[in-house]
Amino acid sequence: MTEIVHADRALALIGGEPNDANLRRYLHGIPGVDAVGLQQRAAGLGTRSIKTTSKAWALDRIIGLIDLTTLEGADTPGKVRSLVAKAVTPDPGDLTCPRVAAVCVYGDMVPHAVQALGAAHGEIAVAAVATAFPSGRASRSIKLEDTADAVAAGADEIDMVIDRGAFLAGRYGQVFDEIAAVKEACRRADGTYAHLKVILETGELNTYDNVRRASWLGILAGGDFIKTSTGKVSPAATLPVTLLMLEVVRDWYRLTGHQVGVKPAGGIRTSKDAIKYLVTVAETAGEEWLTPHLFRFGASSLLNDVLLQRQKVATGHYSGPDYVTID
């Protein structure tokens, strides 16, 4: 039902069928982005000084927003079990430490992740990358099959990639249709949907104007989240790009009252950086976005740095890499 409302709303905004011409008219009518100004604003937000109680809160919240990720060709069921164990008990020395939001794995690892999570599945979600991640260079039917397969195996969230080639060639209708089709492939037998994160791969889109248009496109086509990157292309997440995407979800919310999430992924490795993102979320979209439903970090090494900082806040001194576990 909500999906139909969403689709109607999108069509009303676009002013017709989501074909190349209508989408182009809409997306190119959105005000442009001044790169220097955007970077300046991001740098300004990065100078916020988060200390004492605010820092303690921020560190715990960052952990709760992490999609703990392993996306390697070398992944094995054993590696995934280890990742899940870390997700469930990030700091064995401090059981008050919050758990991460989700684990993020390749589609074929979903059954292992679900099994390893056991009763914790639900509190911790399983996200699967799909649609021929990371390049997305496969036929539509393969992408849909990839998605449906992961959902059937128990994935709660699907991280899809858009067809950057089609986007850059101006075939917006094709990108739109594909996102909408993947969304349908997220539908479970009981009629509910796995959450859909739409990866824009901003490093390949190259310009901020493209990122803004792709963000709108991802939202119009029904994405629950827009996500910066696969982590396989450099640059991955940057603060200016994330700020820009947060401005889009804020504008979408003002326009429709509907909240869409943002997930920066790749390249965020330190607590200091992650806190800059929290500040940017809170001062752009609003503090209510700082929940797992609306904001995630896609990261693998970030968690341990946050744990080290958390130990520092608790004990007053730094420990070291031997005092946090590797997954």
């Binding site: 005000p31 442009g32 982005v33 001044d34 220097v36 100004g37 955007l38 300046q40 604003r41 100078t47 916020r48 000084s49 988060i50 200390k51 004492t52 109680t53 605010s54 820092k55 809160w57 921020a58 919240r61 401005e247 929290l278 809170a282 001062e283 503090e287 700082l290």
Partner: protein, 480 residues
Amino acid sequence: MTFLDYAPAPESQAVLHLRDEYGLFIGGEFRAGGGTPFASINPATEKQIAMIAHANEADVDAAVAAARKAYTTTWSKLSGSDRGKYLFRIARLLQERARELAVAESLDNGKPIKESRDVDVPLVAAWFFYYAGWADKLDHVGLGASPAPRGVAAQVIPWNFPLLMLAWKIAPALAAGNTVVLKPAETTSLTALLFAEIVQQADLPPGVVNIITGAGDSGVPLVGHPDVDIVAFTGSTPVGRAIAKSTAGTRKKVILELGGKAANIVFDDAPIDQAIEGIVNGIFFNQGHVCCAGSRLLVQESVHDEVVDRLKARLSTLRLGDPLDKNTDIGAINSAAQLERIRTLSDVGEAEGAERWTAACEIPANGFWFAPTIFDNVSTSHRIAREEIFGPVLSVLTFRTPAEAIAKANNTPYGLSAGIWTDKGSRILAVADQLRAGVIWANTFNRFDPSSPFGGYKESGYGREGGRHGIAAYLQGATK
């Protein structure tokens, strides 16, 4: 508590070692002034920071004499490269003591530490580095056959960027071979006196830089002193006018950088989020105590409502409070007198029928504060659209066509700066060409660089500071 109530993050004052009282800096030494000392207060708490000496006419005489002596005996005889060495040394010392200077500036002026730390002090050092590089090149850069210094410079600066204005004045004057007597504004003498310590530390020959403190009654005899060769003033247009009158018919070269009522023009195709940031930076930077502030927002009628809505939302996130807290966006108004002026003009704006909106923020119990305020539906005939408020108050006017925007932007006795926001490059060039303002920013605002000349048209003054023009003013026979 919510996350956005960031925990206090005060900058430490431990780096700052202030004396209880400061004398005048004349001939390389601090000495008592002839007038009655006055207190410099912290505008955020109204507590006294230090007692400051008050220069009388005899002190002014002594300072000008010290500058003259230093000019004739040492400074004008030094080679350019030697002058450059001293200036580079000062620049490095400014960087070394950057944190201390930033804390002192925020304490004395009320501006947020993030601005004094990230804008004021880095620019101060940049100005000295930049003009240090000019000192040994003056004969070879098209300034005339052998450009010579003018002599003794009398320099009077305002309270809005105390140390930065000092740098704008002293760096080019010294690079060109002049000696200076500088008077900071009476409410913000502190960093000029710390600069005097740096001058001592750099072992600059005595008398090359003299700092005298006091109010207008110290400035008038300085500007009027017969042995002064060049007068440089930054401040209000009425005082600038008085200086122009008092120096008319004398040999003195005069540089005036006065008030402004800049138009910030937002076209309907502007990059909207960055334009909002630019509007905020244009008028709420340094509490609006900026002569080139974008105090008149000219917004195209078709996007007026959206711009104003977004602006209000953005202003609601600004954090007003303790200038020394690293998260403060809006600090204190510099003085009770300035606060009164802002209040008076704002009341006039309301009485004249403009629609007032003020960001909801808690005002501290002590100190001088004014919450960010927007006046919508302002007409060109309103006083708040014509007079310089010099505070965090924005007047919003609309236009329908580029021609109307240009006409309204130019319809002011001032002409210091302007801003243009559009995604269309050709429009930037076409509009900039017709604006009568000394500095025009395109898709940005309030950006400064030592290599860029700064100064006004019309009642915003004459002469340029910064770049080649900035040093030419301090040289005799320099071809512009």
